[in-house]
Protein backbone atom coordinates (compact mmCIF):
# COMPACT_ATOMS: atom_id res chain seq x y z
CA UNK A 1 0.00 0.00 0.00
CA UNK A 2 1.11 3.52 -0.70
CA UNK A 3 2.59 5.69 2.04
CA UNK A 4 -0.20 8.24 1.63
CA UNK A 5 -1.24 10.05 4.79
CA UNK A 6 -4.72 8.55 4.78
CA UNK A 7 -3.70 4.99 3.91
CA UNK A 8 -4.66 3.74 7.36
CA UNK A 9 -8.07 5.40 7.24
CA UNK A 10 -8.68 4.03 3.79
CA UNK A 11 -7.76 0.54 4.91
CA UNK A 12 -10.00 0.85 7.93
CA UNK A 13 -12.92 2.07 5.85
CA UNK A 14 -12.42 -0.68 3.27
CA UNK A 15 -12.30 -3.43 5.86
CA UNK A 16 -15.50 -2.16 7.45
CA UNK A 17 -17.39 -1.87 4.19
CA UNK A 18 -19.60 -4.67 2.95
CA UNK A 19 -18.00 -5.69 -0.30
CA UNK A 20 -16.40 -8.77 -1.74
CA UNK A 21 -12.69 -9.33 -2.21
CA UNK A 22 -12.78 -8.46 -5.92
CA UNK A 23 -14.27 -5.05 -5.15
CA UNK A 24 -11.68 -4.67 -2.38
CA UNK A 25 -8.91 -5.25 -4.88
CA UNK A 26 -10.35 -2.85 -7.43
CA UNK A 27 -10.89 -0.12 -4.86
CA UNK A 28 -7.41 -0.60 -3.41
CA UNK A 29 -5.93 -0.42 -6.91
CA UNK A 30 -7.85 2.77 -7.74
CA UNK A 31 -6.92 4.37 -4.44
CA UNK A 32 -3.24 3.47 -4.77
CA UNK A 33 -3.11 4.75 -8.35
CA UNK A 34 -4.80 7.99 -7.40
CA UNK A 35 -2.43 8.69 -4.51
CA UNK A 36 0.54 7.72 -6.68
CA UNK A 37 -0.49 10.06 -9.50
CA UNK A 38 -1.09 12.88 -7.00
CA UNK A 39 2.31 12.21 -5.48
CA UNK A 40 4.51 12.10 -8.61
CA UNK A 41 2.42 14.21 -11.01
CA UNK A 42 0.53 12.88 -14.01
CA UNK A 43 3.37 13.12 -16.52
CA UNK A 44 5.74 10.92 -14.58
CA UNK A 45 2.92 8.60 -13.57
CA UNK A 46 1.89 8.16 -17.20
CA UNK A 47 5.48 7.49 -18.29
CA UNK A 48 5.87 4.86 -15.60
CA UNK A 49 2.51 3.21 -16.27
CA UNK A 50 2.70 3.17 -20.08
CA UNK A 51 5.73 0.86 -20.04
CA UNK A 52 3.55 -1.72 -18.32
CA UNK A 53 1.39 -1.94 -21.46
CA UNK A 54 2.76 -4.74 -23.68
CA UNK A 55 3.99 -3.87 -27.21
CA UNK A 56 1.12 -5.89 -28.73
CA UNK A 57 -1.44 -3.72 -26.99
CA UNK A 58 0.12 -0.26 -27.46
CA UNK A 59 -1.84 0.48 -30.64
CA UNK A 60 -5.16 -0.57 -29.05
CA UNK A 61 -4.33 1.45 -25.97
CA UNK A 62 -3.69 4.56 -28.11
CA UNK A 63 -6.96 4.01 -29.94
CA UNK A 64 -8.80 3.85 -26.63
CA UNK A 65 -7.15 7.08 -25.51
CA UNK A 66 -8.17 8.78 -28.76
CA UNK A 67 -11.74 7.64 -28.30
CA UNK A 68 -11.84 9.22 -24.90
CA UNK A 69 -10.37 12.47 -26.23
CA UNK A 70 -12.61 12.79 -29.23
CA UNK A 71 -16.25 12.57 -28.28
CA UNK A 72 -17.76 15.57 -30.01
CA UNK A 73 -21.23 15.24 -31.45
CA UNK A 74 -21.29 13.27 -34.68
CA UNK A 75 -21.19 15.92 -37.40
CA UNK A 76 -24.36 14.59 -38.98
CA UNK A 77 -26.38 15.95 -36.03
CA UNK A 78 -28.10 19.12 -37.13
CA UNK A 79 -31.05 20.94 -35.73
CA UNK A 80 -34.43 20.52 -37.39
CA UNK A 81 -33.72 23.66 -39.41
CA UNK A 82 -30.35 22.38 -40.57
CA UNK A 83 -28.10 24.38 -38.22
CA UNK A 84 -25.01 23.00 -36.54
CA UNK A 85 -25.47 22.71 -32.79
CA UNK A 86 -24.31 25.91 -31.10
CA UNK A 87 -20.77 25.70 -29.65
CA UNK A 88 -22.04 26.61 -26.17
CA UNK A 89 -24.20 23.47 -26.15
CA UNK A 90 -21.62 21.32 -27.90
CA UNK A 91 -18.97 22.22 -25.34
CA UNK A 92 -21.23 21.33 -22.40
CA UNK A 93 -22.33 18.12 -24.10
CA UNK A 94 -18.89 16.70 -24.94
CA UNK A 95 -17.73 17.40 -21.39
CA UNK A 96 -20.61 15.33 -20.06
CA UNK A 97 -22.31 18.40 -18.64
CA UNK A 98 -25.48 18.42 -20.70
CA UNK A 99 -28.23 15.83 -20.98
CA UNK A 100 -28.75 14.64 -24.56
CA UNK A 101 -32.47 15.37 -24.15
CA UNK A 102 -31.59 19.05 -24.46
CA UNK A 103 -29.89 18.42 -27.82
CA UNK A 104 -32.96 16.38 -28.78
CA UNK A 105 -35.14 19.44 -28.42
CA UNK A 106 -33.23 21.06 -31.27
CA UNK A 107 -32.72 17.96 -33.39
CA UNK A 108 -36.14 16.35 -33.17
CA UNK A 109 -38.20 19.07 -31.48
CA UNK A 110 -39.25 16.43 -28.99
CA UNK A 111 -39.61 17.05 -25.29
CA UNK A 112 -39.09 14.14 -22.92
CA UNK A 113 -40.09 11.59 -25.56
CA UNK A 114 -39.40 8.68 -23.19
CA UNK A 115 -41.60 10.05 -20.42
CA UNK A 116 -45.09 8.57 -20.48
CA UNK A 117 -46.66 11.05 -18.07
CA UNK A 118 -48.81 13.94 -19.21
CA UNK A 119 -48.74 16.47 -16.40
CA UNK A 120 -48.15 19.91 -17.90
CA UNK A 121 -45.89 21.06 -15.09
CA UNK A 122 -43.13 19.00 -16.75
CA UNK A 123 -43.72 20.87 -19.99
CA UNK A 124 -43.86 24.30 -18.34
CA UNK A 125 -40.64 23.66 -16.44
CA UNK A 126 -38.80 23.18 -19.73
CA UNK A 127 -40.58 25.82 -21.85
CA UNK A 128 -38.25 28.75 -21.00
CA UNK A 129 -35.23 26.68 -22.02
CA UNK A 130 -37.08 25.61 -25.23
CA UNK A 131 -37.80 29.26 -25.91
CA UNK A 132 -34.09 30.13 -25.80
CA UNK A 133 -33.16 27.13 -27.95
CA UNK A 134 -35.80 27.60 -30.63
CA UNK A 135 -35.32 31.34 -30.79
CA UNK A 136 -31.68 30.73 -31.62
CA UNK A 137 -32.47 27.96 -34.13
CA UNK A 138 -34.89 30.17 -36.02
CA UNK A 139 -32.67 33.25 -35.85
CA UNK A 140 -29.76 31.54 -37.64
CA UNK A 141 -31.84 29.70 -40.17
CA UNK A 142 -33.05 30.79 -43.58
CA UNK A 143 -36.16 28.64 -43.34
CA UNK A 144 -38.66 31.31 -42.43
CA UNK A 145 -41.87 29.35 -42.66
CA UNK A 146 -40.98 26.48 -40.34
CA UNK A 147 -43.10 26.32 -37.20
CA UNK A 148 -41.35 26.99 -33.89
CA UNK A 149 -42.97 24.12 -32.03
CA UNK A 150 -42.05 21.15 -29.84
CA UNK A 151 -43.94 17.96 -29.15
CA UNK A 152 -44.74 16.88 -25.62
CA UNK A 153 -46.90 13.85 -24.93
CA UNK A 154 -47.98 13.84 -28.60
CA UNK A 155 -49.26 17.42 -28.37
CA UNK A 156 -47.71 20.40 -30.07
CA UNK A 157 -46.66 23.54 -28.21
CA UNK A 158 -44.99 26.76 -29.32
CA UNK A 159 -42.41 27.97 -26.76
CA UNK A 160 -41.97 31.27 -28.59
CA UNK A 161 -45.63 32.06 -28.02
CA UNK A 162 -46.03 30.52 -24.57
CA UNK A 163 -43.10 32.26 -22.89
CA UNK A 164 -42.61 36.03 -22.67
CA UNK A 165 -39.05 36.42 -23.77
CA UNK A 166 -38.22 40.09 -23.20
CA UNK A 167 -36.19 39.28 -20.08
CA UNK A 168 -34.71 36.09 -21.46
CA UNK A 169 -31.13 36.04 -22.65
CA UNK A 170 -30.16 34.79 -26.09
CA UNK A 171 -28.37 31.44 -26.31
CA UNK A 172 -25.17 33.21 -27.35
CA UNK A 173 -25.30 35.35 -24.21
CA UNK A 174 -25.51 32.47 -21.76
CA UNK A 175 -21.75 31.88 -21.64
CA UNK A 176 -21.14 35.42 -20.41
CA UNK A 177 -23.82 35.62 -17.77
CA UNK A 178 -22.71 35.89 -14.16
CA UNK A 179 -23.67 33.26 -11.63
CA UNK A 180 -26.43 35.21 -9.94
CA UNK A 181 -28.22 35.81 -13.26
CA UNK A 182 -27.96 32.12 -14.13
CA UNK A 183 -29.33 31.20 -10.69
CA UNK A 184 -32.22 33.56 -11.34
CA UNK A 185 -32.91 31.85 -14.66
CA UNK A 186 -33.02 28.38 -13.06
CA UNK A 187 -35.45 29.53 -10.38
CA UNK A 188 -37.37 31.44 -13.05
CA UNK A 189 -38.04 28.12 -14.78
CA UNK A 190 -39.40 26.69 -11.52
CA UNK A 191 -41.62 29.76 -11.04
CA UNK A 192 -42.87 29.48 -14.61
CA UNK A 193 -43.75 25.82 -14.07
CA UNK A 194 -45.72 26.56 -10.93
CA UNK A 195 -47.86 29.36 -12.40
CA UNK A 196 -50.43 30.63 -11.79
CA UNK A 197 -49.24 30.44 -8.18
CA UNK A 198 -47.33 33.48 -6.96
CA UNK A 199 -43.55 33.42 -7.47
CA UNK A 200 -41.73 31.70 -4.65
CA UNK A 201 -39.83 33.78 -2.13
CA UNK A 202 -36.44 32.10 -1.80
CA UNK A 203 -35.13 34.51 0.79
CA UNK A 204 -33.34 32.74 3.61
CA UNK A 205 -33.22 29.35 1.90
CA UNK A 206 -29.69 28.04 1.47
CA UNK A 207 -28.58 27.65 -2.15
CA UNK A 208 -27.76 23.95 -1.70
CA UNK A 209 -31.38 23.15 -0.87
CA UNK A 210 -33.24 25.36 -3.32
CA UNK A 211 -33.37 22.69 -6.00
CA UNK A 212 -34.39 19.95 -3.58
CA UNK A 213 -37.25 22.10 -2.31
CA UNK A 214 -38.17 22.98 -5.90
CA UNK A 215 -38.27 19.28 -6.68
CA UNK A 216 -40.75 18.52 -3.92
CA UNK A 217 -42.79 21.62 -4.70
CA UNK A 218 -43.08 20.80 -8.41
CA UNK A 219 -44.05 17.22 -7.70
CA UNK A 220 -46.53 18.15 -4.97
CA UNK A 221 -48.32 20.54 -7.33
CA UNK A 222 -48.94 17.92 -10.00
CA UNK A 223 -52.14 17.18 -8.10
CA UNK A 224 -54.67 19.54 -6.56
CA UNK A 225 -56.03 16.85 -4.24
CA UNK A 226 -53.49 14.80 -2.37
CA UNK A 227 -54.24 11.20 -1.43
CA UNK A 228 -52.95 9.59 1.72
CA UNK A 229 -50.38 7.68 -0.33
CA UNK A 230 -49.08 10.92 -1.75
CA UNK A 231 -48.84 12.49 1.70
CA UNK A 232 -46.92 9.51 3.04
CA UNK A 233 -44.65 9.59 0.00
CA UNK A 234 -43.91 13.23 0.82
CA UNK A 235 -43.04 12.32 4.41
CA UNK A 236 -40.83 9.47 3.21
CA UNK A 237 -39.02 11.79 0.77
CA UNK A 238 -38.41 14.33 3.52
CA UNK A 239 -37.17 11.74 6.01
CA UNK A 240 -34.90 9.89 3.58
CA UNK A 241 -33.36 13.15 2.39
CA UNK A 242 -32.77 14.41 5.93
CA UNK A 243 -31.27 11.09 6.88
CA UNK A 244 -28.94 10.61 3.92
CA UNK A 245 -27.96 14.18 3.17
CA UNK A 246 -27.73 15.62 6.64
CA UNK A 247 -27.55 12.90 9.28
CA UNK A 248 -25.61 9.90 7.96
CA UNK A 249 -21.93 10.24 8.76
CA UNK A 250 -20.26 8.01 6.12
CA UNK A 251 -17.29 7.20 8.30
CA UNK A 252 -16.82 10.58 9.93
CA UNK A 253 -14.63 10.24 12.96
CA UNK A 254 -14.47 12.91 15.66
CA UNK A 255 -15.97 15.52 13.35
CA UNK A 256 -13.53 14.96 10.49
CA UNK A 257 -14.70 13.37 7.24
CA UNK A 258 -12.40 10.52 6.23
Amino acid sequence: MTNASDAKQFSCWLNNSKSDSEKHQRLTCLYTMLRYIQQVGYTEAFNKIIILVSKDHIKLFEQLMDNYNDISLPTRKLTLLGNQIHPYLNELYINGNLDSDVINILVRRQLLHLWKGDNLIHLRLLLPMCNILLKWDHSVSNATNQPSTVTFNRQIYNPLELVESEDMPLLAQLADLDESKRKGLVLGCVDFALRPKRPLNWHGIHKDYKLWLSLLKLWWHTKTEHSNSMKMTLVALIISFLKHALLDTYGETKGKIS
Binding site: L211, K231, V235, H244
Partner: protein, 91 residues
Protein backbone atom coordinates in the same frame (compact mmCIF):
# COMPACT_ATOMS: atom_id res chain seq x y z
CA UNK B 1 -45.96 -5.18 0.17
CA UNK B 2 -46.26 -2.94 -2.81
CA UNK B 3 -48.18 0.12 -3.71
CA UNK B 4 -48.57 1.10 -7.33
CA UNK B 5 -49.62 4.61 -6.56
CA UNK B 6 -46.55 5.28 -4.44
CA UNK B 7 -44.29 3.81 -7.12
CA UNK B 8 -45.82 6.08 -9.72
CA UNK B 9 -45.53 9.14 -7.51
CA UNK B 10 -41.85 8.45 -6.88
CA UNK B 11 -41.28 7.99 -10.62
CA UNK B 12 -42.93 11.33 -11.29
CA UNK B 13 -40.76 12.95 -8.63
CA UNK B 14 -37.64 11.37 -10.12
CA UNK B 15 -38.64 12.74 -13.50
CA UNK B 16 -38.69 16.25 -12.03
CA UNK B 17 -35.22 15.60 -10.64
CA UNK B 18 -34.00 14.78 -14.13
CA UNK B 19 -35.62 17.92 -15.54
CA UNK B 20 -34.17 20.18 -12.85
CA UNK B 21 -30.79 18.63 -13.59
CA UNK B 22 -31.24 19.43 -17.29
CA UNK B 23 -32.12 23.05 -16.61
CA UNK B 24 -29.30 23.48 -14.11
CA UNK B 25 -26.87 22.00 -16.65
CA UNK B 26 -28.22 24.21 -19.44
CA UNK B 27 -27.39 27.30 -17.38
CA UNK B 28 -23.94 25.91 -16.49
CA UNK B 29 -24.81 24.58 -13.07
CA UNK B 30 -25.13 27.71 -10.96
CA UNK B 31 -26.62 25.51 -8.23
CA UNK B 32 -25.40 22.36 -6.59
CA UNK B 33 -28.06 19.69 -6.70
CA UNK B 34 -28.07 16.91 -4.09
CA UNK B 35 -27.14 13.48 -5.50
CA UNK B 36 -30.11 11.39 -6.58
CA UNK B 37 -29.32 8.75 -3.96
CA UNK B 38 -29.86 11.39 -1.26
CA UNK B 39 -33.22 12.38 -2.71
CA UNK B 40 -34.47 8.87 -3.57
CA UNK B 41 -32.78 6.26 -1.45
CA UNK B 42 -33.62 2.61 -0.86
CA UNK B 43 -35.35 3.79 2.27
CA UNK B 44 -37.87 6.04 0.51
CA UNK B 45 -40.25 3.55 -1.08
CA UNK B 46 -40.54 1.00 1.78
CA UNK B 47 -40.89 3.86 4.25
CA UNK B 48 -43.71 5.42 2.20
CA UNK B 49 -45.48 2.06 1.94
CA UNK B 50 -45.09 1.36 5.65
CA UNK B 51 -46.37 4.79 6.66
CA UNK B 52 -49.33 4.59 4.28
CA UNK B 53 -50.39 1.32 5.93
CA UNK B 54 -49.85 2.51 9.47
CA UNK B 55 -52.68 3.74 11.63
CA UNK B 56 -50.49 5.95 13.76
CA UNK B 57 -47.88 7.16 11.32
CA UNK B 58 -46.80 10.16 13.39
CA UNK B 59 -46.03 7.72 16.22
CA UNK B 60 -44.00 5.63 13.78
CA UNK B 61 -42.05 8.68 12.70
CA UNK B 62 -41.45 9.65 16.30
CA UNK B 63 -40.03 6.18 16.94
CA UNK B 64 -37.90 6.49 13.81
CA UNK B 65 -36.44 9.69 15.27
CA UNK B 66 -35.29 7.71 18.31
CA UNK B 67 -36.57 10.27 20.74
CA UNK B 68 -34.92 13.28 19.10
CA UNK B 69 -37.71 15.79 19.52
CA UNK B 70 -35.98 18.45 17.43
CA UNK B 71 -35.71 16.11 14.46
CA UNK B 72 -39.32 15.03 14.77
CA UNK B 73 -40.53 18.64 14.94
CA UNK B 74 -38.36 19.51 11.93
CA UNK B 75 -39.92 16.73 9.86
CA UNK B 76 -43.39 17.81 10.94
CA UNK B 77 -42.62 21.42 10.04
CA UNK B 78 -41.46 20.42 6.56
CA UNK B 79 -44.59 18.34 6.05
CA UNK B 80 -46.90 21.14 7.17
CA UNK B 81 -45.01 23.55 4.94
CA UNK B 82 -45.99 21.59 1.84
CA UNK B 83 -49.40 20.35 2.88
CA UNK B 84 -50.89 23.47 4.38
CA UNK B 85 -49.01 26.11 2.34
CA UNK B 86 -49.28 28.52 5.22
CA UNK B 87 -45.80 30.05 5.77
CA UNK B 88 -45.96 33.37 3.94
CA UNK B 89 -42.22 33.48 3.41
CA UNK B 90 -42.46 30.75 0.79
CA UNK B 91 -45.68 31.71 -0.95
Amino acid sequence: MSNNEIEQELEECQQFYKELLMINQFFEQPYGIPSPEFCFSRLTYPLAVHLSQSKYFWKDIENFCLGHKFLFEFIKEFYDFFVTNIPPSFE
